[in-house]
Every structure is written in C-alpha cells, then in structure tokens.
C-alpha cells in the first residue's frame, strides 16, 4: 500500500525542507515561553497550594517533569525492552 517516492517528486520542496522555517518555529516557541513566563509578573494568582504561588512554578515544573519523564523512561527501556519476536505464542 505504501508508495515509494516518485523520482520527480523528490525535488519538490516542502515547508520544513527549508531549515529557516524550522528555526522560525523554534524562535516562536522561545518567544511564547518568554511571554507566558513574563506574565507571572503581572497576573495576580489566587493559590490553592503554597507552591503554586512561587514565581515560574508551572514553567519550571513543566520543564523538569518532561526531563524527568524522559530520563526515567530511558531506564525503564533498559529493563523491559525486548526484541519484536520475544513472545513465542
């Protein structure tokens, strides 16, 4: 069902074939991050939990949680990864 690339199509350039566009997306993300972090100075928060009130709590938590997740998952992979035909049922 899968269709190999036709010779002519190879030369067609798509949106992210241009490295500049990839960079633009990245810079947009950096800008958005700076913007929402900056909002912490302005927005007054009612907090339910004491940690919530700390400057940049959610930003830091999001970054750290993601990194921790990947780190632990790498460890888990060492433990549970097997070859595709592991189950001989």
């Amino acid at each position: 069902m899968s269709e190999p690339a036709r010779p002519g199509e190879r030369r067609k350039r798509y949106l992210f074939d241009d490295a500049r566009n990839v960079r633009r997306v990245r810079w947009a993300l950096y800008a958005a991050c700076a913007l929402v972090l900056g909002a912490d100075f302005i927005v007054h928060r009612h907090v339910e939990h004491p940690w919530e009130g700390t400057f940049g709590f959610y930003a830091l938590f999001g970054f750290a949680a993601y990194a921790l997740l990947v780190l632990i998952a790498e460890g888990l992979r060492r433990l549970v990864a097997r070859r595709p035909d592991y189950y001989d049922d």
């Binding site: 949106l15 993300l29 912490d40 930003a59 999001g62 993601y66 790498e74 097997r82």
Partner: protein
C-alpha cells in the same frame, strides 16, 4: 413521541445490515445512529422500561442526566466511527460495530445490575470481531487473550451479582459501599474493563491489533462504559483516587518508549482514564462533573487521534514511529487534524481537554489531595510528551521516511473533521457541555491565571523537548516490544507449564510416569482439538466456542447455586 430502548435501534440496524449489500448497507449503517439520536430525543425524561424475564423484573432502560450524556456521546462516537469505516466498507465490521454499539447502549441505560451484566458480556463478544477483522495471525492471538479477559470481567460481575443476591442486597444501579465480597467482585469486574493498574494490559495488547475502524470504536466505547458504571456504583470511593492517580502516571513511561504509535495511544488512553477514575474517587460534585466531562472530551480527541493513526496505517501499511516520519508533505489535512487532537488531549486553552481535565485537578486541590494533584500535574506534562508531541512529530514530521502516501480517503477526512470540530467547539464553548453534566457547574475554566499557568506548563515542557531534541537526548525510536503485565500469561505461564512437564519427566518419582502419561494425554487432547490440524482450530471460532462454553457453564452453575436455592 414513541421511543424504544436505545439498544433496539442498533440491533435492528445490525440485522438489517446483515441482509443488505453495497450502497444500501452503507446507508443503513450510517442511518442507524441518526435514528438512534432521534429516538434518544424522544426518550429524554421518559419513565423506566421494565420487562419480566425468568420471573425477575429487569429495568431495561432508566433515563437520567448521566445516562443521557453518555447516550449522546456514544451515539456521536459510533456515528463518526461508522463514517470513518466507509473508506473500505466491510460487512463483518459494520454489522459487528452496530451490535457492539447496541451492547454499549444497553449497558449505560441499564437500571439494574443483571441488565448491565447481559450487555457487559455483549461488549466483549461483539468487539472481539473488530480485532479478528484485521485477519492477521497476531490479531487472532490477541483476540483470544482479549476475549478471555472480557469474559473474566463478566464472570466477576456475575459472581458479584450472585453474592449480592445471596446477601439479600438490591440490584439497583445505585452507589454501593466497597465492603464485603459482592461489592469487591463487582468493583474488580469494572476494574478490568476500566483498565486498573495490573488489569490494564488487554487495552495495550488488543487495541493496536484491531482494524483501523475497530480501534476507533473500541477506544470510545468499552472503557468509557466502565467509567460510567464506576460513576454510578462507586462515586466517592477513596481507593479510586489512588488507583486513578497511578493510572495517570505509569502508562506515560511506557508511552515514551513504545514504537507502535497506536500502542502509544492505548497507553495514553489508560492515562486519560486515570483522570476520570480519580475524579470519581474524589466524588464531589465538581470532581464527578470533571470526570464525566473529561470522558466526553476524551472520546472526541482520542477517536480523532486513533483515526489519524488509522489513516497513516491504511495509507502506508506501517505504524512504528521508527519507520514513519515526514508524512506532512503528502498528508497535510490528516496532519492538521491530528495536531488538533494532540492539542486537545494536551489541554491547550481553546481545546477540549483544557475545560474538562482542570475540573478534576481543581477538585483534587480543593479536597486537600496535594500529592495526587502533583501526580496529575506530572501526568499532564507526560500527556504532552507522548500524545501532544510524539504522535504528530514522529508520524508527520521528524526525519523524512521517504514515504509519500496519498492523503487519507474522504470518509476518513470527514469523520476526522467532525471530531476535530467537536474538540474545538467544546474548548471554545464549554458551557454547552457543562449544561449537560449531572450537577450544576460553577467552575470557570477561562480565568487569566488558569490560561497563563497551563500555557507555562505546556510551553516549557515543549521547550524541554526542543532542548533534548537538539542535544540528541530524546529517546531514539526503536522497534521492539516492551514487557508489561502480560508477561505473566504470555511467557511465564506457558514456559512454566513446559518446565513442570520436563521436571516430572526427569524426576521419575513414584507415580511420575502416571502423571506424565496424564499430562501428555491432556496435551494430546488439546493439540488434537486446537493444534495446527485440530478440528476446532480450523477457524478461530473453535477457541471462542470453547471459551464461551466454559463461561456459560460457570454462569449456569452460579445461577443454579444462588437463584435455585431461593
């Protein structure tokens, strides 16, 4: 207006579809949920439908806000899955889908546990054919394992009902305390179908093996029927808070390292169920509203995500993250629709997850479950990883696989577009969904602080992805399998059995030869019937017949013991 029990509409549709062919069958299949929806309108607010069966009064249909909400949800989900399936109409799939939907409708409108049980069994017995319809060897094997667990859930439910009757308890679909054998049996029966930790593996085993359409429908119906039943029978049961929190956390690690993108979504499904289970466990009005609205939002975006991956599988014949990539070039519409699903499940503002998940989290904080709240927050960042970024990135962007498949067929695109529309509509106009919830909603999702904090969480987690990706620290995608609880019954049990036989042969204990003879004749019998040339193995139905027979025998026995003595 005249109305009938909702399941009857779907059963009639299934029967009609069995005898129709070609375009006519497609029209019947698509019209069934539409007729069902009209029937549902007429049913709203009507009195319970009671029938007499074996001298028992069964409440076949009981209507309230909770069952109506799930009724609408399942009608919509079935409608979308059936449209999606029109890309390659298949009689078996279509008929079974309607029968499966009928079981779900029966279960959620059931007014008592016995009625629930009948349709509970129907869920497993019908949906298994959606796995078999894939017609691969591994799908057949997964289907047997799937059916065994579904039957086990049904048996537990039946035993629970029997024990409840033995205690002289009521069979009404009403909240029960989790104490004593009866309630624990019922709790476990629901737990299997809801994917509780250690009982979850059938979801990640079977769903990636079903057909493109089958997986979409299964991901919507079975587990959410269990969530509905939990909300009915065990609201405010404290242990559910911790079960739910565990469900949100452990699957995300598996989702990170899994290569099969439909299996990633299956792990993600368990994670999402965790939020609902936690909400039901907390049990306050806000929490129940959160759990139920999350179920609604979830069915829409999870269907959308499974549909987009189904489209990729259909067009490329591949589903491993390691063998895909760069498909945005030739499947731009599917890419955009998938991203809408990804944004919804990640709970970006203006998308559906944002207005539902946060209710559960707010309720956890309100009730002082700080650690649970932290776990849910961690899981929210995890959702962004596997469903928000991994699914769209590795399928449609990432490295160029060189594959240039055509855009998804039109029926798939139509179904995905409607689902995407629902995701955005719920996110932008939450009051429509809130108005259908069991309790009045005072919760306000769109406050400046909620929007800002949620964006901080998600954008900085995305930033982490970019940093890790640029530093080449993201876990590489590798084909292979990751062992999970199923290891016990797919590896340990069969290997252990062989080991026992060998030990017996070696030991030559007194009577050892007799035992060995006994063992060998047992194996010979099973091989004779189910082996490569076995009479019952010529088609998979033989195995099902055996399982069904054993299950039926057990059911009769329990009924005889309990009802016969009264």
């Amino acid at each position: 207006m005249i109305s009938v029990a909702p399941f009857i509409v779907f059963l009639v549709g299934a029967v009609l579809a069995t005898f129709a062919r070609g375009r006519l069958r497609d029209i019947i299949v698509i019209a069934t949920p539409v007729v069902g929806a009209i029937n549902l309108c007429a049913l709203d607010g009507s009195a319970p439908i009671v029938v007499s069966l074996f001298g028992r009064e069964l409440i076949l249909v009981q209507v309230d806000r909770l069952s109506m909400l799930f009724g609408w949800l399942f009608h919509l989900a079935t409608f979308l899955a059936l449209i999606y399936g029109l890309h390659r109409p298949n009689k078996l799939e279509q008929v079974v889908s309607l029968a499966y939907a009928a079981s779900t409708m029966g279960a959620i409108f059931a007014g008592d546990l016995l009625t629930l049980f009948m349709f509970w069994e129907g869920l497993g017995l019908t949906s298994v054919f959606l796995i078999l319809a894939r017609r691969t060897r591994s799908a057949e094997k997964a289907a047997v394992r799937y059916l065994l667990l579904q039957i086990a859930s049904g048996m537990l439910l039946l035993c629970g009902i029997a024990a409840l009757l033995g205690q002289g308890g009521s069979l009404a679909m009403a909240p029960m305390e989790l104490e004593g054998l009866a309630s624990w049996l019922i709790f476990l029966a629901l737990g299997i179908k809801a994917g509780f930790p250690l009982l979850h593996n059938w979801i990640t085993d079977a769903y990636p093996e079903a057909t493109e359409t089958g997986t979409v429908l299964m991901s919507a119906l079975t587990t959410k029927t269990a969530i509905y039943s939990l909300a009915r029978l065990f609201p405010g049961t404290e242990i559910l808070i911790y079960i739910g929190a565990t469900m949100t956390v452990f699957p995300i690690f598996y989702a990170v390292i899994e290569d099969n993108l439909r299996r990633v979504l299956a792990y993600s499904l368990i994670n999402q169920l965790g939020f609902m289970v936690t909400g039901i466990g907390i049990g306050t009005e806000l929490a129940i509203n959160g759990a139920v609205s999350h179920a609604f939002a979830h069915v829409m975006y999870k269907s959308l995500l499974f549909m987009s991956m189904g489209a990729v599988l259909f067009r490329t014949g591949r589903i491993g993250a390691s063998e895909l990539g760069g498909l945005y070039r030739t499947m731009p519409k599917t890419t955009i629709l998938c991203i809408i699903g990804a944004a919804s499940i990640s709970a970006f503002p203006l998308f559906s997850g944002f207005v539902s998940k946060s209710m559960v989290m707010a309720a956890a904080l309100e009730e002082g479950h700080d650690w649970v709240w932290l776990a849910l927050l961690f899981a929210s960042a995890g959702v962004l990883h596997h469903a928000g970024i991994k699914i769209p990135f590795f399928a449609f962007f990432g490295h160029d696989s060189g594959l240039r498949p055509r855009e998804a067929p039109r029926p798939m695109l139509i179904a995905m577009t409607v689902a995407a529309f629902a995701c955005i509509f719920i996110g932008v106009f939450p009051s429509v969904l809130y108005g259908m919830l069991p309790y009045e909603v005072t919760y306000q999702p769109y406050t400046v602080e909620h929007v800002v904090t949620q964006l901080q969480l998600l954008l900085f987690a995305s930033l982490c992805f970019v940093v890790l990706h640029l530093a080449r620290l993201e876990p590489p995608e590798r084909p292979g399998i990751n062992i999970d609880v199923e290891w016990f019954y797919r590896r340990l049990l069969p290997r252990g059995a062989l080991r026992v036989r060998d030990e017996l042969a070696r030991a030559r204990l007194v009577g050892g030869a007799v035992l060995e003879e006994f063992w060998n004749s047992g194996i010979a019998l099973v091989t004779h019937l189910h082996g490569p040339r076995g009479a019952l193995a010529r088609n998979p139905l033989g195995s099902y017949a055996l399982i069904a027979l054993v299950a039926l025998f057990a059911a009769v026995l329990v009924f005889e013991l309990v009802l016969g003595s009264r």
